[in-house]
């Protein structure tokens, strides 16, 4: 079960990243003001994370989905929007980069969790 939940966290991270990157790519195009694009991207990412997180959190773990998902949604949304405002990229690249971004953030959060998981007082 533990291994399944760990793998599911990666799947959830990739899903949140896709749900963030796809609407941003559809909306933001080269020529957008980068600052405005990043703002829009952050908002879309937070909304995507909140919607998906409420479902995935119940299945996988509320905090595991919330922490990684919120980082992917907000910061990933800004990054994706900044990229889409500065260069033209294909849908394939958009989706592939989103999946990689989601997986890398989840891996980072899991590593950090291992580093912190210890007695901290007493």
């Amino acid at each position: 079960m533990k291994r399944f939940l760990t793998l599911a966290e990666y799947g959830a991270g990739a899903l949140v990243a896709l749900a963030t990157a796809i609407p941003i790519h559809a909306l933001v195009h080269p020529g957008w003001d980068v600052a405005l694009a990043m703002l829009v991207g952050g908002v879309i990412g937070m909304a995507s994370h909140a919607l998906l997180g409420s479902v995935l959190g119940a299945l996988i773990g509320m905090f595991q989905v919330m922490v990684a998902g919120s980082l992917i949604g907000m910061y990933g949304g800004m990054f994706f929007a900044m990229r889409d405002a500065m260069q033209a990229v294909s849908w394939t690249q958009t989706n592939a980069v989103a999946i990689v971004f989601g997986v890398v953030v989840v891996a980072g959060v899991q590593l950090y969790d291992r580093a912190l998981r210890s007695r901290v007082g007493g």
Binding site: M66, Y75, V109, L116
Partner: protein, 200 residues
Amino acid sequence: MAQGSRSKWDRASRVYDLATQSDEWRYGPAKRRLFEGMRGRCLMLAAGTGGDFGLFPPGLRITAIDISGRMLGRAAPFARAYAGRLDLAQMDAQALAFADARFDTIVSVCTFCSVPDPVRGLRELHRVLAPSGRLLAFEHVRSHLGPIAVMQDLLTPLMRRVGPDLNRDTLGNMARAGFRVLREHNVYLDVVKAIEAVPG
């Protein structure tokens, strides 16, 4: 305030088990280790639907309270199945109907993310806990990690409508209520913690 909280958790009782199932799988072992410290007359706060009763050591005499009558209704079969004595009572953690120093152990599981005035609730625990007693708390708290804490702050107004606050400073609130933390374990990041505290 108590009525609003009661209504919220009555509504939440319908989906509570579904919404927390994966957390039970994840945190069950850590809770079981924390509950090994239960001794003497025990009080459990926020019993919920009774999912944690099976993690208690057998043979104890426990009073489990919750503000929601519907939660307690779902918890009743699990209370009867406990290998010891486990009584249920509907009560607000901010106004406990127990005498001073009544309990040797108090267990709280994800309680002080939801109690409207956590310091008032913790002061009540301080009152009903024996001077030699222990508070065993399994709680989620506001992270000290900037980006995570910001997210917790942003999501709390949304979450508060249907469930707990995500950004409570429960360790600080314990100190403000007169408790001294003996031990603190990070269970997930620095967000989910197992805490052992005594009256200060």
